[in-house]
């Protein structure tokens, strides 16, 4: 029985190749764009996750709260509430903390010879390397003596190195000018990838003591980065840090002047944005699928009208309503399935092309392929149902007389 249905269906589809082909094309475009756009969304999400995870291990970040109206200079962070003593207290008083690093960061124009670049200067301690999982490409990282003796030394990111010295140049021992103060380059960090504000490749790391003395002249720090001993410890450390700082700042939960975020929070915040974006992209592509489905319906209705006499004949020789509607449903489902299949391949190819030529990450997931197959079969049923029903309800006498 299925073999008969299959043969009938193939005969009907191939009877009008151009029309079937164009109708399928509508579904192909719809499915391909769904697959490709979901792949772009998914790929973006993956790369954001990876770059957030590469910021550090079991990272908790404390940042100043919102800027207050009084007593604020446009310096480090949006408000000044965290101090070096806060950072030291966290390191000494809280269990489960592996390392703490204060960060004083500010953007400056940096000059080497005739080249210059605008980059972020981060004043921090030696723990920073461990907390942010930085690896050294050439030279060394800051040492404890660099910090305590306030040596004007700098560890630069790979992108900064490329901008100032050119790619492949070993700048260790060279002197750069930051805000007219000379710093000696002692090391270069390995590239971590990522782009935009996520990157840690474009920054210059100097001892926080130096940053305080030459750039800020106060006790405040921008961010305190904390590394918990293990993933399980993150939540308890975060709670304790919060309690300690509230006590030290003499604040309550309501009047708090700092924010604490951990890596999981950042990942989920970023994920929820990209997920929404992916859904939006898929929804836009979905519109073209609906248009494709309407194309299927249109073709099937034309088919039913054209083949009215054939339907009459089939009924006269004993076809029941179900036989007729199954025949037309099989036809529309085959069309959409074929379209879906080609569309998945095309969408995959487009996603691959985007990854190759547009340097955007793409990732085609099995779930989006299953979704595409399900949707294309569903479109075949939904948009094929009405024409099939119409065919099956034809009166054989009228159908046989149809001209």
């Amino acid at each position: 029985m299925f073999k008969d249905l299959y043969q009938e269906t193939m005969a009907a589809i191939t009877a009008n190749k151009a029309r079937s082909g164009l109708t399928i094309l509508g579904i192909v475009i719809g499915i391909a764009s769904v697959i490709a756009l979901i792949a772009v969304g998914q790929g973006t999400q993956d790369s954001i996750k990876t770059s957030i995870q590469s910021i550090g291990s079991n990272l908790i970040m404390v940042m100043p709260g919102a800027q207050r109206s009084g007593g604020v200079s446009g310096g480090m962070g949006s408000a000044q509430s965290l101090t070096l003593d806060d950072a030291k207290a966290i390191g000494q008083e809280i269990d489960g903390v592996k390392a703490v690093a204060p960060e004083i960061s500010k953007r400056y124009q940096v000059i080497f010879g005739s080249s210059n670049t605008n980059t972020s200067i981060v004043g921090t301690s030696i723990s920073y390397q461990e907390i942010r999982s930085l690896e050294i490409d050439t030279g060394v990282f800051l040492s404890a003596e660099d910090v305590s003796a306030m040596r004007k030394v700098a560890v630069i990111g790979s992108t900064t190195r490329d901008d100032l010295f050119g790619a492949g140049f070993d700048p260790v021992g060279k002197t750069i000018k930051v805000n007219n103060i000379n710093f000696k380059v002692v090391g270069v960090t390995k590239s971590k990838g990522g782009s935009g504000s996520n990157t840690q490749d474009d920054q210059i790391i100097i001892p926080y003591t130096v940053a305080q003395k030459y750039f800020t002249n106060n006790q405040y720090v921008g961010t305190i980065s904390i590394s918990a001993e293990s993933e399980e410890m993150i939540d308890t450390v975060q709670e304790q840090v919060s309690a300690l700082l509230l006590e030290r700042h003499d604040k309550t939960e309501e009047t708090t002047d700092f924010r604490i975020m951990n890596q999981a929070d950042i990942v989920s915040a970023a994920s929820s944005i990209t997920e929404t974006l992916t859904m939006l992209l898929a929804a836009i592509a979905g519109i073209s699928l609906i248009v494709g489905g309407i194309g299927i319906m249109n073709m099937m209705l034309t088919n039913v009208t054209e083949r009215t006499r054939e339907i009459g004949l089939r009924k006269a020789i004993g076809a029941k309503r179900n036989d007729i509607s199954n025949q037309f449903l099989a036809e529309s489902i085959s069309l959409t399935f074929l379209g879906g299949f080609i569309g998945i391949i095309l969408g995959w190819a487009i996603a691959w092309g985007i990854a190759q030529f547009a340097s955007l990450n793409t990732s085609v997931s099995w779930s989006s392929i299953l979704l595409a197959f399900g949707v294309s079969a569903g479109i075949g049923i939904v948009f094929g149902y009405y024409p099939a029903r119409r065919a099956s309800r034809l009166n054989p006498i009228d159908a046989l007389r149809y001209e």
Binding site: G312, L313, A316, K320
Partner: protein, 230 residues
């Protein structure tokens, strides 16, 4: 073939048919009663608008009478649902139409096998059944693999006859089978019916408005203005 002339293939008793269009009722058949025995070759004839097409539809289980009873092959088929009528058509009736109604771009053999698809005949038997029917209908074997639209009118009608025969129905119902053919080809088709009736014992009912065609049958049922004329 069963050859029991005493058995009744078709029995109509007081058949009335009334069509309703909006509030207007039109009666097309009035108290039609007749019987056709197994193995008979009967023509139902009458001028256009006489109601012979309506009779053909009722006999062919394409339509139901408004009142009266209709027995086909011993079974009351006057009050059946659409799908039940489809079963009757599938098992008991072979249709031959004026305009052949073959599937285009489809081979002769596949056209003849089409009723076997709906009858769910085993696939391995279909070719043999179709070949037998084509031989009986008198179509040369070298045409069997041709597409239906590559045939002449007479050949197409013989394919249609083979399609009507393939499921071995109780009656063969031919609706103006020569209407689209020239006189000479028409004669060949009518001879085919005669041979199927005489040699193989098929019950054949010929619906036609042409007296020349009707006279090929053994008996003529004449309809005029919805009444049977004796």
């Amino acid at each position: 073939m069963k050859k029991n002339n005493a058995e009744v293939a078709i029995a109509c008793h007081n058949i009335n048919k009334i069509y309703q269009t909006g509030d207007i009722f039109t009666q097309v058949l009035y108290n039609i009663s007749f019987e056709i025995k197994r193995g008979e070759f009967v023509a139902i004839t009458g001028p256009s608008g006489s109601g012979k097409s309506t009779i053909m539809h009722i006999i062919g289980a394409l339509d139901s009478p408004s009142s009266g009873s209709y027995y086909l092959d011993g079974q009351d088929v006057s009050q059946l649902s659409d799908d039940e009528l489809a079963d009757i058509r599938k098992n008991k009736i072979g249709f031959v139409f004026q305009s052949f109604n073959l599937l285009k771009r489809t081979t002769v053999l596949r056209n003849v096998m089409l009723p076997l698809v709906y009858a769910e005949a085993p696939v391995e038997n279909r070719l043999a059944l179709a070949s037998k029917a084509l031989l009986a209908a008198g179509l040369e074997e070298d045409r069997w693999a041709h597409l239906s639209n590559q045939l002449s009118g007479g050949q197409m009608q013989r394919v249609a006859i083979a399609r009507a025969l393939v499921n071995n129905p109780a009656i063969i119902l031919a609706d103006e089978p020569t209407g689209n053919l020239d006189t000479k080809t028409g004669e060949i088709v009518l001879d085919t019916f005669r041979r199927l009736n005489k040699e193989e014992g098929h019950t054949i009912i010929l619906i036609t408005h042409e007296a020349d065609v009707a006279k090929h049958a053994d008996r003529i049922i004449y309809i005029k203005d919805g009444h049977l004329v004796e």
